[in-house]
Symmetry: C2
Subunit: 149 residues, 2 copies
């Protein structure tokens, strides 16, 4: 259990990550905004899946996911085939064009980090990745169990 002031500092840091996120987003071509890029990245990492699963991984509502998916499908970066087990669903899968697009995106972000994070060690980046993953897991179920005003 950490001190209260550390929690407030953490809240400030999280809030300020928006600026970092925007830096990354500015790297992207106008045709492929960050929502689209996230869809492609997850399909690459976890393989084909349905929209509901994608929405879970993105941690956004299914309606939002549906729009992002429609966007990338319209560009030919993914294909939607019928789900043999459930007529209501379709299976999403990267196309070769989607893979190519994703490789381009990976190159852009890698270039940015390689330039600005020159003095970070492999371990530094790994530690940050691990802590962020843990943070998301710890806060993962905030969505449903809360006390708003």
């Amino acid at each position: 259990m950490a001190e209260r002031s550390q929690y407030e500092e953490l809240a400030r840091q999280i809030s300020a990550m928006g600026a970092v996120k925007r830096s990354l987003a500015r790297l992207l071509p106008a045709e492929c905004p960050s929502g689209s890029a996230a869809v492609l990245a997850l399909l690459d990492r976890y393989g084909e899946m349905r929209i509901s699963r994608l929405a879970e991984l993105l941690a956004v509502d299914m309606s939002v996911t549906s729009r992002h998916v429609a966007h990338v499908a319209g560009r030919g970066w993914i294909e939607r085939s019928p789900d043999p087990d459930d007529g209501r669903s379709r299976i999403l899968r990267l196309t070769p064009a989607g893979v190519a697009r994703l490789e381009d995106l990976g190159r852009r972000t890698t270039d940015l980090f390689a330039h600005h994070l020159k003095d970070w060690s492999d371990d530094d980046v790994g530690r940050l990745n691990a802590l962020l993953a843990r943070l998301r897991e710890s806060l993962g179920d905030c969505r449903n169990a809360r006390t708003p005003t």
Copy 2:
């Protein structure tokens, strides 16, 4: 210098922080959205300042900052006094009502973290805070030096 795959993982983690940020935002009263909360927090931490300085700290355009400031000023949480050294500027300062509002916000976020981050040590939280601060510093000047498409 870290490996390429770690950079791509970092990009994914940063992108996914949006969900964590929204969890925090859902704690806030409707009257005080996250932009307003950030203004109050920075004025508390750094003391009175002008809009342009606030925009720098928020890492957001001055036009955006201007709107957030108008919102919190309208609620009486900050006051704007003329800048004796520059007739174009005004000095922003927390009011007692703003301090009270901020204390309430701090209580909410602290409660959330205390509940969900029970198994985090003081050092864990401190390490994450330090790494996030360093990340923002390393990427701090991305805004002006880039190669979009």
